[in-house]
């Protein structure tokens, strides 16, 4: 059965955006490798910039004076030790935070990762971006230069359009009276207090993820920090001309990341600006609903086959979305079994690849379904001894799944490489294929977060459900390629063919029956438990109980 990207991305615009993203990903993979591709780590870079903002902000707040804000900023820039650079770093880090957040949101949307159980992450992410914008706004008002004054006046104008205040707060900036220091105190309070809310929102944002990667890999972390520090030293951002309520702002430097809306709203009445914000915000917040596939095309959540579930906990450990819980059995047998929470399951299918007895997975994509599919695949075209069969992820792999062959090699599509059951690989090898090349997305860009990581461990590091020892590893190849990296797939195929050519001729077995082993595994698994718990004893794997069980991802 041929799968295609269209199965998930019913909207043309999303397919278009995904295609737009592919060359950028491919270019940056080429330049920085997938391990350090900043586009893949955009979300983690946002968190890194938050950390930088927190450190630099704590330093700066000691020198800020409410009585004379602009003069204190000038003093920070000119007299405080490292003040100029630290203030610039604070500013550039805030800009980088917004850029990285925009890239992250764009990626999630373009990859169709905003709907279903991911709605919470999407909406909380948008609120985070809004909060960052407000934080930036208060930060610039703190400086009280020309830009700060303009932003303050525009903000007040918007707020006055709402029926909230008994007196228009915009009057504070007309020059009728001296600007009260209470205003700057309130502004400083917001600038310091809002990050607390930011932390809470960030927790909410990742709350449905198992093992969220909050910081980028070390190389990218130091690289990004180094670039921002270098920019602050080489091109420090000085405060602008002090604000004067009796002087028109005229030409001044503005931060395009936080003041981008000024040219759009300056001529508009406050109410019209709110309408604009409402429309844009509404479209963004409602994106999970208007961009999701039609109901009939939405992949169903995973289900557990009670008969086959041994309670081994591997699917529970591997699930990247914490959608699986281990509960007491309900089929009359002793022990525990897996249960999928459909409200949290994104139907990634990774559990299908983790289950040795093939007892869990989305309907139509369990290990047994995959075996049936590969049987048909082989029946339709038995692989030749010098053939390298390409097993490719539909989300990446250079898009080779669009055709049934790639460069003469038969192509078998799989929803996510992480959902691939190793018995499929075994079946292909035992069917006489010279080799099997599995092309997954780069681990940092997996549609389902952890697919390639678990796949690699199942193939080479005996992670449950591991590729059996009887399969000749010399015939199994693993490559990572994004949607725009067709060349990488071609190169990996070429390498695979060369390696296969050096091996003895592959033999074909008849009557390969792998799924019958499932029942055996299930029975043995339950016998080994002898009741409640895992295979190593009554308390589960390695003697640990469910409540104190192995930390997710450690096995």
């Amino acid at each position: 059965m041929k799968l295609s990207l269209a199965r998930y991305h019913s909207l043309l615009v999303i397919r278009f955006l995904r295609r737009l993203l592919a060359p950028a990903d491919a270019l940056l993979n080429r330049l920085y490798t997938w391990r350090f591709n900043p586009l893949y780590h955009s979300g983690a870079i946002v968190v890194l910039t938050f950390v930088l903002l927190l450190i630099t902000g704590l330093y700066l707040v000691f020198f800020y004076r409410l009585g004379d804000p602009h003069a204190s900023i000038v003093r920070i820039s000119e007299q405080v030790w490292l003040g100029r650079w630290i203030r610039s770093l604070h500013r550039y880090a805030s800009d980088a935070a917004l850029v990285a957040a925009a890239i992250h949101a764009f990626r999630m949307f373009a990859q169709g990762r905003s709907w279903g159980p991911r709605v919470l992450a999407w909406v909380s992410g948008l609120v985070l971006v809004g909060l960052v914008l407000v934080l930036g706004w208060t930060g610039y008002v703190m400086v009280w230069d020309v830009q700060g004054m303009v932003l303050a006046r525009e903000g007040a104008r918007f707020l006055d359009a709402l029926p909230l205040f008994s007196e228009p707060i915009g009057r504070a900036f007309v020059g009728e009276r001296e600007l009260p220091s209470a205003f700057f105190f309130l502004n400083l309070f917001l600038h310091v207090a809002l990050p607390v809310g930011l932390g809470a929102l960030l927790w909410l944002h990742v709350s449905r993820l198992a093992r969220p990667g909050l910081l980028p890999p070390r190389g990218l972390l130091w690289g990004t920090t180094g670039i921002l520090v270098a920019l602050s030293i080489l091109w420090p951002a000085p405060p602008g001309t002090p604000a004067d309520l009796f002087q028109l702002p005229s030409r001044a430097p503005y931060d395009a990341f936080y003041a981008f809306w000024l040219p759009l709203t300056q001529g508009l009445p406050g109410a019209a600006a709110w309408v604009g914000v409402g429309i844009v915000g509404g479209i963004a917040v409602l994106a999970p609903w208007w961009s999701r596939p039609r109901a009939a095309l939405r992949p169903p959540p995973s289900v557990v086959n009670q008969r086959l579930c041994t309670g081994c906990q591997q699917c529970y450990l591997d699930c990247p979305y914490e959608a699986i819980a281990m509960v007491d059995r309900t089929d009359g047998r002793n022990g525990i079994m897996a249960r999928v929470n459909p409200a949290l399951c994104v139907s990634c299918g990774i559990c299908a690849g983790s289950c040795a007895p093939m007892g869990v997975g989305p309907p139509g994509r369990t290990g047994q379904d995959q075996l049936a599919r590969v049987r048909d695949f082989v029946a339709a075209r038995a692989p030749a001894p010098d053939d390298v069969v390409v097993v490719a992820c539909t989300h990446g792999a250079g898009g080779v799944v669009e055709e049934s062959t790639f460069d003469g090699a038969p192509v078998l599509a799989v929803d996510c490489a992480g959902s691939l059951h190793t018995s499929v690989v075994e079946y292909l090898v035992r069917s006489g294929a010279g080799g099997v090349l599995i092309v997954a997305c780069p681990p940092r860009d997996c549609q389902n977060r952890e697919g390639p990581k678990w796949l690699e461990q199942r193939l080479y590091h005996e992670r449950e459900a591991e590729l059996k020892d009887r399969v000749d590893r010399r015939r199994v190849f693993l490559a990572y390629a994004d949607l725009g990296e067709l060349g990488t797939v071609a190169a990996a195929l070429e390498r695979g063919r060369r390696d296969v050519a050096r091996l003895e001729r592959a033999g074909r077995e008849a009557d390969i029956v792998l799924d019958a082993e499932c029942d055996l595994v299930a029975v043995r698994g339950m016998e080994g438990r002898g009741g409640r718990g895992g295979r190593d004893g009554p308390d589960g794997p390695q003697g640990r109980q469910r409540s104190q069980g192995p930390k997710r991802g450690q096995r």
Partner: protein
């Protein structure tokens, strides 16, 4: 060779992105779009509250509980003002100014901005309270309590020839202590 090319390409891209970040962080922009000077009218005044009273009829009193029987029933409101602004011989504002608040019991606010070119300008401003209806009491409880000075006079005017320099803002506001309109800030000599 290919490795060196990747290094150079990676460094160039990082440098370009960093430079773009630095430049976009300090883009020169002119937030004033229309003119080189500004006349701003901004003030807040307490309006004059009037009360319209009538005596209840015997039948109406009869319908009320004994403890709520008041012979006279008064309803108050704050009188609106009319603002007329003539700038260089042209009437730029001629509008009624109503008290703010959902129940129209808050002060009156005036806020207008007129972009102008630098140079001399003729300014003629009149802020006139609507006349007190004959059958109302023009004195409020507050005024009776000694806050009479907070209400604006029935008519405020300002007629002045002013000089604006480039980028100057001239503020016309209300001086509550002297109960008159005044110019503030950067009035040119």
């Amino acid at each position: 060779m290919r490795r060196i090319g990747r290094w150079v390409g990676g460094a160039a891209l990082a440098l370009g992105a960093t430079a773009a970040l630095g430049w976009l962080s300090q883009v020169p922009y002119d937030a004033t779009s229309e003119a080189d000077g500004l006349v701003r009218l901004a003030w807040r005044t307490r309006g004059t509250r009037v009360e319209e009273c009538r005596r209840l009829t015997a039948a109406e009193l009869e319908r009320l509980p004994v403890h709520m029987r008041q012979v006279e029933l008064c309803e108050g409101r704050i009188l609106p003002h009319r603002l007329v602004v003539v700038l260089d011989g042209r009437t730029v504002v001629d509008e009624a100014v109503y008290p703010s608040g959902a129940r129209a019991d808050r002060p009156l606010y005036v806020y207008h901005e007129f972009p102008v070119k630098p140079g001399w300008h003729e300014l003629d401003i009149a802020f006139t309270r609507d006349p007190v209806p004959a059958d109302t009491a023009g004195e409020t409880e507050r005024e009776r309590l000694g806050e009479r000075e907070s209400a604006a006079p029935p008519r405020l005017t300002l007629v002045r020839r002013v000089l604006l320099a480039r980028d100057q803002i001239l503020l016309v506001t209300y001086d509550a202590a002297e109960r008159r309109l005044m110019l503030k800030g950067s009035e040119a000599p």
